[in-house]
Amino acid sequence: MIRAFLLAAVLVVVFAAPAAAHNVTAGADLRIAQTIAGAEVTLVIKGTSRVPGPLRIGVVAYERADGLPVSLEVRSLTGGHTVTGTARAAAEPAYTELRVEETGPHQLTLRAGSEVAVVPFRVLVERGSAGDFLVYGGLFAAGLLLVGGLLTGATSRRGPAMLLSAGAAAGVTVAAMVVVFEPMLPPGPPDGAAPTATAQPAGGRPFAQARMETAPARPAPGQEFTLRVDLTDGSTGRPVDDLVSHHEALAHVVVTSEDGRYFRHVHPLRTAPGRLEVRLRADRPGRYLAYAELEREDSGGQLLTGGFAVEGEPAVAAVEETVAPTLRPAPTLRPAAPVAGRPATIELPAEGRVRPWLGMAGHLIVRNQDGSFLGHVHEMGTAGDRLRFTFSFPRPGRYLAWAQHATDGRIVTMPFTVDVTGPGSASAG
């Protein structure tokens, strides 16, 4: 009878499915918006759960991008192993599978039209935890010892049988303790992760400085030019090459003409360490203001500014300008006359089905008239086909505003102005 009970206990222990054994997870997806070949797309690199293994890459089309072929080249920066493929941009893209051989730093080279972008990234794969080892190890040891105890007991050697049974109990206890306490322990870094110091210095990284210039240096109206942003670390003088995906982009670049009739919100390509480039075209001569919103690793977001001039006679064939505000219903403001320093809510109808873009339903860019202030506000999750933004305009005056959202096949930009009053002169309600 006792032998039968011990045998049953062995079977239960040996075949019991250990808890917390499925800790192997794929790394998080990387999403990076890119303005490439005149199109607006978001590159998606899906994590893999093993190496060697498949890395799935897709290109989500947002504007002038449907069917755009994008050639892909993934290269390991440690082993040098290189694989190539092609992706086709689509609203719901088919993912191209490229086989990666190892974890760690890689770079993805994108080519579309005559443009090239190099995106650095790390392939991370979750490691099996020490907890898993202890759970499996504890249960395995318990199983072995229990079989040993069973056999020893069967041969009537009480002392060794007790010892082996005690060992089995210890094994089960270790496994059970780990099952209970492991969720409270911090997980180890995934395989391929960058080294991290145990004590992180507080305060973030030094500031970045931007040098913005165009190629050619004096673009003519209607002529395509490259806006180049060279980023330099303010403390070391090195190129800043540690940008993280900030609202799904390495950088959000907003370019406006001084009068605000020209507006572009684009996502430049990383072409070299510390260098971002985007191709633009403007049809009117004048001064243009450029803003780059970006975030360094372990730091907060920052805004860098610059400008350039377009010189020459206005282009005959007008470059697409943002649609005149008179064609759209005016946005609803609450209060009707926003007061500086107090929250104002701006609500306006969306055009068509709203698709999430840059991680949000909508974006509002606001600029004061002289261009010395720029704000980037996110939509607050309004249900239905309306966009709602809340923002405290810092000072009285007229602000130029552009609300943006993605819909099927295009990005809608809705320009309008907001007049903000001072706290003393408000008759807001």
Partner: protein, 128 residues
């Protein structure tokens, strides 16, 4: 019975020595970086602050000059460039101070050769 206890004690002692040895000994840090012109394997011994020996083997590409530099991005520290001597074809050795404090450093290797100049960069965890 005594044998069993002795065996268990021996196992525990061996495990303790292994863990302590890993924690105390600063093993050389090996980094392999594959650039578009050159591939290099760098050994930093020891990966600590103070004087270090950095040995590099250029395993791909024909390099005739090599210099190290390091920055600590979190703190904004930058160190002067350290030139390496070519001891034999493809093997470069530099000695000097590259790291002033513990933490994660970006180690840059500037390689020159007939194929042109390329700077390879990798992260290195440096202890105090």
């Amino acid at each position: 019975m005594r044998r069993l206890i002795a065996l268990a004690a021996l196992l525990v002692a061996a495990a303790a020595l292994f863990v302590a040895g890993r924690a105390l000994g600063a093993e050389p840090l090996t980094l392999t970086i594959a650039g578009s012109r050159y591939t290099a394997t760098v050994v930093i011994d020891p990966p600590r602050t103070g004087a270090v020996v950095v040995e590099t083997r250029v395993t791909s590409g024909d390099a005739d000059g090599l210099a190290f530099s390091a920055v600590m991005p979190d703190m904004g520290h930058a160190m002067p460039e350290l030139s390496a001597a070519e001891r034999e074809p493809g093997r470069f050795v530099a000695e000097g101070e590259l790291f002033t404090m513990s933490g994660v450093w970006d180690v840059s290797i500037r390689l020159t050769g007939p194929a042109g100049e390329e700077t390879l960069t990798a992260k290195a965890l440096i202890s105090g």
